[in-house]
Symmetry: C2
Subunit: 501 residues, 2 copies
């Protein structure tokens, strides 16, 4: 018992340790930690009155909101499981999620949800949510704010839907212990301190934003919520709230630079990676390991976010860096034995930040944790300096002749071509070679390059058998989170015949 630390416990401590610190900013709403703690108690009691008990699910369908953090913490206080689902999904996809999770409570933003779904007893976001919360008792759940059945920090508290392994998406379950451990690894690598202010402008149904929201919460910092990315609004909030970090990269940064062209907003509180001359002049270049390292690493929802950090491996050979101090990584062959450095195998992991399996997928869970290791489904390599290189999804390996081709490797080579803005690689069936490599390429505005030039460029960088035999030009690469949506690419560009599938 004395070793437990749930997310609810972290909040209970912050309410005492940080009575004057702002925990949450969302539009007009500003909450100190004691205010957040009291709202979470009311919300937990209101949910309990609706039948949400330990192990039951609570669903959020909507854009970013303080309600996401409150529902997560209230679920922790009850021992329940909270899922912020992707509200942009189709009606069929959302129907699957509802059927899969069978939530006892749903809070939803009708106007933002793409699908024309609603439930009789669903709680509308906004005023409806406020009224629901206000109806909850303010009685602490139990002495010390910990209900006995909710005190176990190894119980799942967050469910995030992630890639399909067997044709349907799966809800990865993360416990308080895993989330606290992962947050702590981010505190170490990002060198987060009290006063850290994070702008939640990326989607909270993805681990990429959620992990920084939770690390900010863990260190007793301030979470600022905005519904979605809007460059001007990001500038305004950074200035007004003295934001330390936002969920920005690549073209989003360029959009922020453009929105702040006249220097209308003071963005100097942002401590960020160096990006462009204009950006560096507006912000403060940060020298934490995270920001020194182009924020790189390897991760997935199932490991709590990041498994390896480039920031822990300055000058690394492997561009995914080294494991978090709270995990172990093994590169395993199909038979479960460890492959030697330099050879490709599946990236497998064990440690404090790992998930607790998928909701309601006993067979998949058994398969994914065989031998006591979580099998990520991704291929990687241990380099001679001990660092990790991420190769690509195991099921996306292309078999061309007798050779294995990993799309990610070819994609990296493609992106070094000066005219290429984005690229993805798929395998297409080939009579002679079983599969052939096809590149789908997006050119930069105003730049041109022929298919032959692009193939030659790759040939100069990689072994010849890895070069694309076909090149399709496209307007954009469909994405799932930050990775190409290979299913969509296969469908649109004739992919198939993968050996792993």
């Amino acid at each position: 018992m004395i070793h437990q630390l749930t997310l609810s416990d972290v909040l209970a401590e912050h309410a005492r340790s940080r009575p004057q610190v702002t925990a949450v900013v969302d539009g007009e709403l500003r909450l100190t930690y004691p205010e957040l703690d009291r709202r979470v108690t009311r919300l937990a009691n209101a949910l309990a009155a609706r039948g949400v008990a330990a192990g039951e699910r609570v669903l959020w369908l909507g854009q970013n909101s303080h309600a996401v953090l409150e529902l997560l913490l209230a679920s922790s206080r009850l021992g329940a499981i909270f899922c912020p689902a992707n509200w942009r999904q189709s009606a069929d996809e959302l129907a699957f999620v509802l059927d899969d999770l069978a939530p006892k409570a749903v809070v939803w933003e009708r106007s933002e949800t793409a699908a024309p779904l609603s439930g009789e007893d669903w709680i509308p976001a906004g005023d409806g949510y406020e009224a629901f919360l206000a109806g909850g008792s303010d009685e602490p759940r139990a002495p010390g704010d910990v209900a006995d059945e909710a005190a176990d920090d190894t119980a799942p508290v967050l469910a995030l839907y992630t890639a399909a392994f067997d044709g349907r998406p799966n809800a990865a379950l993360l416990s308080s212990a895993a989330l606290v451990a992962h947050s702590t690894s981010l505190l170490v690598v990002r060198q987060m301190e009290p006063g850290f202010t994070f702008l939640n402008n990326g989607p909270l149904f993805h681990v990429g934003t959620m992990m920084f929201c939770l690390a900010t919460f863990q260190i007793g910092g301030t979470n600022v919520f905005t519904p979605a990315f809007d460059a001007e609004e990001v500038c305004r909030l950074v200035d007004a709230e003295k934001v330390t970090q936002a969920f920005l990269f690549g073209q989003m940064i360029d959009a922020v630079v453009a929105a702040n062209a006249g220097g209308k907003y003071d963005l100097s509180s942002l401590r960020f990676i160096s990006h462009s001359e204009e950006w560096d002049a507006m912000t403060t270049v940060d020298d934490s390991p995270w920001c020194r390292s182009k924020m790189g690493g390897y991760g997935q929802t199932e490991v709590g976010g990041m498994l390896t950090f480039l920031g822990l491996a300055p000058g690394a050979a492997g561009f995914a860096g080294r494991p978090s101090p709270l995990v172990q990584v093994r590169i395993l062959a199909a038979d479960g034995t460890e492959v030697p450095p330099g050879e490709v195998g599946e990236i497998c992991a064990r440690g404090k930040s790992l998930f607790s399996g998928y909701f309601n997928r006993p067979e998949l869970n058994e398969a994914k944790t065989r031998g006591g290791w979580h099998h990520t489904g991704d291929l990687g390599r241990r380099e001679p300096d001990g660092t990790i290189t991420f190769i690509g999804p195991r099921l996306r390996m292309i078999k061309s002749g007798n050779e294995n081709v990993y799309p990610a490797e070819v994609e990296r080579a493609l992106k070094t071509h000066p005219a290429v803005a984005d690229a993805a690689v798929i395998g297409v069936p080939d009579e002679k070679w079983h599969q052939a490599v096809k590149a789908v390429v997006v050119l930069k505005d105003g730049r041109t390059a022929s298919a032959e030039e692009i193939v030659e460029h790759v040939k100069g960088a990689l072994a010849s058998y890895k070069k694309p035999r076909h090149v399709d030009f496209a307007e954009s690469i469909p994405k799932k989170g930050f990775t190409p949506d290979y299913d969509a690419l296969d469908a649109a560009h004739g992919g198939g015949g993968y050996p792993g599938s």
Copy 2:
């Protein structure tokens, strides 16, 4: 299983992730992480051959050595418990420890151990230890280097003897999970990164040095071992090994400055708190929260080291700062209820870094963890800003008339007198007031002050009832670790009659 991370696991990962990193330097011995891993496997096998199984104890009696870290890691690999005992204890004290722990294996430095003890089958440090280790098999303990019974990271792995509560010292048991959690909190507050090099010059049988040894190990840094503090040798090692941090404070820093008066050694790799003009010029002033905050906080062995950090509470009212992100703190009254901010109660804690009770003390353990909270035995206060003030040991509270006087508070006031080098406060029996406050004062070399002047100084700083009624001058204050040895002071200066005892 996939959530386990023992100290042995951390080593197994480092051996893969950091094949070229120096893990250990001790005299002529230099070990990379793979070399350390192989030696630990041999040592574990040699210990197993001697009958050390899961739960058995392994004892070290000697000064600082790489063997301390190796024996700890080998014990982890076996699921055994390692105890580095205070080798400076008397024969009676050591006999108690041997009887209490009943270790299956003892490694000892005959020449350094104060007590004339030896066992027939004890392993002599140095060549004897090397021969013992070399005799172990190099077979990994189990697939993945993890023996099933040793895989549980909640099992105790380290035993450190700590203050007596019932007239005898007790071995606080710390699990791998607690040590890894505590190390991570130090990584956050000290902002430790790969490459961190720690000089183990303080005693490893105390948590103060051990906790930095383990945090350095956790981040994959380098531990340099030296038998004990020697100012010249510290200078030499800092220069030669580019040490980031050593176990130095107060007079030890002055001694290092004096030893390096001519600038013979380059100490610029040391990243430290500002101390004196000469020191700051020799070293690099560090701006991590730990170093910005005078390295302060509150801790004890039972919480893994530090429970609260001043570095997490810039500008705090309470000089112990705020809790580590991995624990909760409550200030509790004797009846177990929480006292409001501003009132004194017992500092109680729960969280990831806490110990697993004392070895073989079931009744004491039950008493100390009543209500699901670890009772530290120390009094403290939550300030209005939520930060924690440490008042002093509960059993050392002085009852003078109807007033409670806390020695630590009076001691701090005494030490602000310009002529006072050190001071401690005890209660002496008093017919009228039940107890009276007595100060034991050490004057600075060449300085004088009368008892009256000293009493007046305290009276100017604190409520009048807290001022000493008696002042004894002494050559030094006897210490247990870093705190006054109050039992010795009571015996020497007539103390007694404490209400808590």
